[in-house]
Amino acid sequence: MKTIPHSIPIILLLVGGILMTAIYSRGVVSSYSSTTIPNNEVLKDTPFDKMMQVLTHERCINCHPNDNIPKQGKDSHPHYFGMKRGEDNLGFTATQCTTCHQPENNDYSGVPGAPHWSLAPKSMGWQGLDKYEIAKAMLDRAKNGNRSHDELVHHLTEDSLVLWAFDPGVDHEGIPRETPPISEAEYKAAVIAWFENGAIIPKE
């Protein structure tokens, strides 16, 4: 009977372990990925770029996941407690978003809130997309809830849940949540200007 050198099983185990770790890590990383503006990108002052500084911010992206899991925080980690999209984007049958989230931020508990708190529908999953892809998805009536440009402007500049991004309250330690990098007024003006100019998506 042939004998196998002791080192071979150990090497095989090591290689297998490295492969498994690589595969697992990729899965985990992809599920955490959020859209952010790369640090080396020169921020332009166009209405499109201003608008996208908001729409790519975690305050927006965390509730536009590309899976069924809401995200939380600056690092866009999966929502604690295993909460998922559930029925009608409102959580599960007996434990819904509104079990914890009310129509306003709660400064005592640090739980954020706004009217009709919910996840964006699955067709509006933006997590992992760049700003050009988000813009394309946003204008696509098959993905945007069949909204016209006027309806999109209304949604982006009037909807209380969208505008919550600029008044996100404090966390459970009483620390204010980060807001998008431009003001609400600048954002609204940018959205209106971009749509008034034909909602043209610039070339990448």
């Binding site: 407690f81 599960f92 434990t95 509104t98 306003e104 709660n106 739980v111 459970h172």
Partner: protein, 160 residues
């Protein structure tokens, strides 16, 4: 500010300075119903769960102003010693509690669950009962939840 609501079918009108006071403290400190517990204070553990218009709500994160005109049910209103709610009956049969602190919250969450899903699967339980028990009585609770649903279904059939 005056806020009116019912708790366990008893109407209440309270005067309160801060309308954002968590409902939990109104229930415990103004109405002296101590069954609803304070756990984490950030809607994470579920010890403060009660029902508002039939929906499970974490009362530490629910401003009392939102309770205006609503029907609130706490653990004290779930059943009585003589006529326990199916959840209470099941909890007794399965001897669920250890320290017991978190149990009212779990029981209120379970009562809401079996009202909406009369025959919950393990997956339904995993998704909907996400409170925290530091004694880790989860295994016994799972058995009790299935048992409570069974008792409720049997009771409903008997009443038909």
């Amino acid at each position: 500010m005056k806020i009116s609501f019912s708790v366990n079918e008893v109407p209440h009108s309270i005067e309160i300075k801060d309308e954002n006071t968590p409902l939990l403290w109104v229930i415990r400190d103004m109405l002296h119903l101590k069954g609803t517990k304070y756990g984490c204070g950030k809607a994470a553990c579920g010890a403060c769960t009660l029902h508002v218009d039939g929906e499970a709500v974490r009362s530490c994160s629910y401003a009392v102003k939102f309770a205006e005109g609503k029907k609130i049910r706490t653990i004290e209103g779930l059943g009585t010693k003589e006529n326990p709610h199916p959840v209470q009956q099941a909890w007794i049969e399965e001897i669920v509690p250890q320290c017991g602190y978190c149990q009212p919250g779990f029981m209120m969450a379970t009562a809401a669950l079996i009202d909406k899903i009369p025959e919950p699967t393990d997956d339904d339980i995993d998704r909907n009962i996400i409170n925290v028990c530091r004694c880790a009585t989860y295994y016994r609770m799972r058995k009790a939840i299935h048992r409570a649903a069974q008792i409720q279904r049997t009771t409903s059939k008997t009443m038909e």
